[in-house]
Symmetry: C2
Subunit: 174 residues, 2 copies
């Protein structure tokens, strides 16, 4: 006899938060940040810091800092309600926008500093006929070229809307 197991809402919710946390932490946003984002993503209504703390069982301090980070990354918005002191939070629900925001932030935080360091490194002093020196300069030059191109592609990609990009990629890859 077969037993068909269908997930209940609560189980689905937990798995979703867990999965989004895992995905997030491997793609550059911290686990808790991604979990808070996940919770907000599946909330039909805005949530207060209090509610987030309770739901995810995290401390006040952690909730506060995480929410602040999410706002910095442009993934969550603060919302005020007339006549209430409390702040409420809402996630950006357009996943393409979320992806673009993350790319944008990581580009700024990670790629830009690397590019300027590489620029420095190309100027390293040394004997042009020394193999080691040449290998260093070659590696740097190479990396810079690839990073530059990737950076260029990402920069443009975030300026396109999803359908335009997908359409273009589809044609591109036949």
């Amino acid at each position: 006899m077969y037993r068909i197991s269908i997930m209940k809402y609560n189980e689905g919710k937990d798995k979703f938060i867990q999965a989004w946390g895992t995905l997030g932490s491997s793609w550059g946003i911290s686990r808790t940040m991604a979990q808070v984002h996940a919770l907000l993503l599946i909330s039909p209504e805005v949530l207060s810091a209090e509610e987030i703390m309770e739901d995810l069982k995290i401390s006040r301090g952690n909730a506060n800092m995480t929410i602040r980070d999410l706002i910095d990354w442009g993934l969550v918005y603060k919302e005020l309600r007339a006549g209430e002191r409390k702040e409420f939070f809402r996630a950006e629900k357009d996943i393409w926008k979320v992806a673009k925001q993350i790319i944008k932030e990581r580009r700024k935080r990670e790629i830009e500093p690397i590019l300027s360091l590489l620029e420095e490194l190309k100027k390293v002093e040394g004997n042009k006929t020394d193999k080691k020196h040449k290998a260093l300069v070659d590696a740097v030059t190479n990396i810079e070229s690839v990073v530059d191109k990737a950076d260029f592609a990402l920069e443009r990609a975030v300026k396109l809307d999803e359908n335009a990009l997908v359409g273009a990629l589809f044609k591109l890859f036949k």
Copy 2:
């Protein structure tokens, strides 16, 4: 009076290893893995585990595991020399290939499991008119569509060579 400070080879080498380590750890390969890779990248000659340990001041065990991981990721090759017991290592120096390998591995390790989980989550049981239930299914459906498209793009991108991709992207983005 101005002082122009030009980096010496050793300083450049250290900064490069450090930078590659930082970049690596934020893009999915561990810090030490990236540092060993960096060292090999700028080595004109193959290196033994012994030499890597000494140069980076890491333990034998760490060196061994890290090198093994790099080989698993397809970023480093083992090389044997006739008449020598010792193993030597050589990095993949084509950075575009390196990037492709990393994308390929991460796709396999991270995206594939997420896609199958999302597929599961769409089946979550519940009242179709319940707002929460609907929000969960909507979020999952949305994410799946974006992840699917990104996955498609990455899958194809790693099959193209660098020039083809760059050329295509260049046209694409005018």
